[in-house]
């Protein structure tokens, strides 16, 4: 954390791994990305890994984090952050590689990369923001759009007969990843827990145990067209009902 008081004025509390020059950040009011990235920033601070981290961000709203951290960062293509960070880690395993993406990047256009990175147990950390729609492109249906939910490409509500049921990413990763994987789903409605998951995901990579995957349930009031109360209700009730929050895979740590 930086000095909280400057000229006797209380400053906003920022993780020291944040890049102050890019603040205030560019996410919409009420967006969950800022909360997730704050949790990530604090986890990086607490683990003291700022200089080893390479932060990769995807396309979609997540790309707005390209200069978010005072860490080496790479903005890639839609869906391709997983292979870029994988390639980096395979070439130099001293790197702590973080792939940050949305549900479209992870579960649609980059799903083959997520699936196979999990199968190969790549020693990287993937953090995925699930907000039930494509935010940057204007609120289309995503793999995670809830049944009946209205989006720009499901204007009468998502018909799961036609489009299938929402993707449960952590469940998929947990099902295919070998021993050593860490898999969890957090929510911006419980930041302390989400930060704990993210920190464990980084520690799992540092221990070289296996893939670490954390999905965080997040809000998109701009595209949901919800006010604050409705936004929180949707995250805490509707989303959490379908997407169960908690840890799905925790590696057994060997004694001694």
């Amino acid at each position: 954390m930086q000095e909280l008081k400057e000229n006797n004025v209380l400053q906003p509390a920022m993780p020291s791994s944040w890049n102050e020059e890019s603040k205030p950040h560019k996410f919409c009011p009420g967006c969950g990305h800022g909360i997730i990235l704050k949790a990530l920033g604090e986890a990086i601070d607490e683990l003291g890994i700022k200089d080893q981290v390479v932060f990769g961000c995807d396309i979609g709203c997540s790309l707005l984090s390209w200069d978010f951290f005072a860490c080496d960062s790479v903005q890639t293509h839609h869906g391709r952050t997983t292979p870029v960070i994988t390639g980096m880690k395979r070439a130099n395993n001293e790197i702590i590689g973080i792939a940050y993406m949305g549900d479209g990047g992870g579960y649609a256009i980059g799903s083959q990369h997520l699936f196979n990175a999990a199968v190969r147990n790549e020693k990287i950390t993937i953090i995925l923001c699930n907000n039930c729609n494509y935010g940057m492109t204007g609120g289309q249906m995503a793999p995670t759009t809830l049944p009946g939910m209205k989006t720009e490409t499901s204007p009468y509500g998502r018909d799961i007969e036609q489009t299938g049921a929402p993707t449960k990413g952590p469940e998929m990763v947990a099902a295919v990843a070998p021993e050593g994987a860490y898999v969890a789903r957090g929510t911006v409605a419980n930041v302390r827990q989400a930060k704990g998951f993210i920190k464990k995901a980084l520690e799992n990579q540092m221990a070289g145990r296996g893939i670490s995957f954390v999905e965080i349930l997040s809000g998109c009031p701009t595209n949901w067209r919800t006010n604050a109360k409705q936004t929180w209700e949707f995250i805490e009730k509707d989303m959490a009902q379908y997407f169960k929050v908690g840890e799905l895979r925790v590696p057994q740590v060997k004694e001694g």
Binding site: D51, W66, C71, S73, V74, T76, R80, G87, R90, F115
Partner: protein, 357 residues
């Protein structure tokens, strides 16, 4: 590390794919990322056999999109990294090549062309010339070496890594299925023993230095003007680089009436046709771009000044032809095309076409 690689010069008899794998070892490449597709598979086969002996690595990934992007990850972390593909795989790899152009990432691709479009054949073609030179939603800011022999596959694979890491543009070695699968003699060697310098890679991100100045790399821009500045800066660098990397070969163009213009393995047929016809006293010439990107525009223009006709022969329907026409814009020389998409071209066929002129 295991035994020292490529001690002394060795005369060997091997396939082109094997020659590429040895060249990558000779160029001190650290890691290959790959996905199977014919006819490039044996590059991976030989690399995976050689890699552990030389302390090198390999990762087989889920598709060519991933192969391209994992290779970019390797490059960004400061390792000499490459991948190899063909045909539809080359199409998928263009996405990563575009990112390499925008972010100036020194990735090396080995392309062993197969028939196209679509799945077509696994055998041979020159139909990926346009794709390899200009694929992606950009301006073709890349270097493409079109090889003709196994010796060239070896030499230019080594050179490709040097060019990529010197100029920071994606660099392609454009071979084909014939070169990939055929066996022929060549000399393999350690380039440093020959006094050649191997350009050292540099980490773009991820160096673990306490309190280092962090870097933010991106390929997205907010405004038209911002993008324009970046693309034009890359264009200026590419233009400045072009005369330094451009390569071509020519024979007898000074007094030739008819000049054969070919690239890649077809130029071997053209070269033999040239020799045979010259022995008969015919005034023929031979011109071959070795870099098809940047294309030797000026050199071709100078070579054809006294000629009446050009015979442009390629195993594609007009991909080289377009480059030749662009290079010779304003010239009055007659261009006779010999276009054989997806099939080989022999010396006899070129001589026959010549006799019809």
């Amino acid at each position: 590390m295991a035994e020292v690689s490529l001690k002394g010069e060795q005369r060997v008899f091997m396939t082109g794919n094997e020659a590429v794998a040895w060249a990558a070892v000779a160029a001190k490449v650290d890691i290959m990322y790959g996905y199977p597709i014919t006819p490039q598979n044996e590059i991976m086969h030989y690399w995976t056999r050689l890699a552990p002996k030389y302390g090198k690595r390999f990762l087989q990934v889920e598709d060519e999109i991933s192969a391209g992007f994992t290779t970019l990850g390797g490059v960004m972390s400061g390792r000499k990294a490459f991948t190899a593909t063909a045909g539809p795989g080359n199409v998928l790899m263009q996405e990563s090549a575009g990112m390499a152009e925008m972010m100036r990432l020194p990735i090396v691709y080995i392309i062993q062309q197969r028939g196209g479009p679509s799945t077509a054949t696994v055998i041979y073609a020159q139909q990926e010339t346009t794709l390899t030179c200009f694929g992606g939603n950009g301006e073709g800011h890349r270097i493409v070496y079109s090889t003709a022999t196994h010796q060239e596959l070896f030499d230019y694979t080594i050179k490709a890594f040097n060019s990529a890491w010197t100029y920071r543009f994606p660099t392609f070695v454009l071979g084909d299925g014939y070169q990939a699968k055929m066996r022929e003699p060549l000399t393999i060697y350690d380039p440093e023993e020959r006094g050649q310098t191997l350009v050292k890679p540099v980490a773009l991100v991820g160096e673990n230095i306490k309190g280092k100045q962090f870097k933010h790399l991106r390929n997205t821009y907010n405004t038209e003007d911002e993008l324009y500045e970046v693309v034009m800066a890359n264009q200026r660098d590419w233009d400045a680089m072009a005369p330094k990397v451009v390569e071509w070969d020519q024979k007898g163009c000074e007094d030739a009436e008819v000049i054969f213009v070919t690239h890649g393995v077809v130029s071997r047929a053209a070269s033999t046709a040239y020799d045979q016809l010259r022995a008969q006293g015919k005034k023929v010439g031979y011109f071959r771009p070795i870099t098809v990107r940047p294309f030797p525009d000026e050199q071709l223009g100078a070579a054809v000044k006294g000629a009446k006709k050009l015979l442009v022969a390629e195993s594609a329907y007009g991909q080289l032809l377009k480059m030749v026409k662009t290079a010779l814009y304003g010239s009055n020389v007659e261009i006779v095309p010999m276009l054989r998409p997806g099939v080989g071209i022999t010396t006899e066929e070129i001589v026959e076409e010549y006799s019809k002129l």
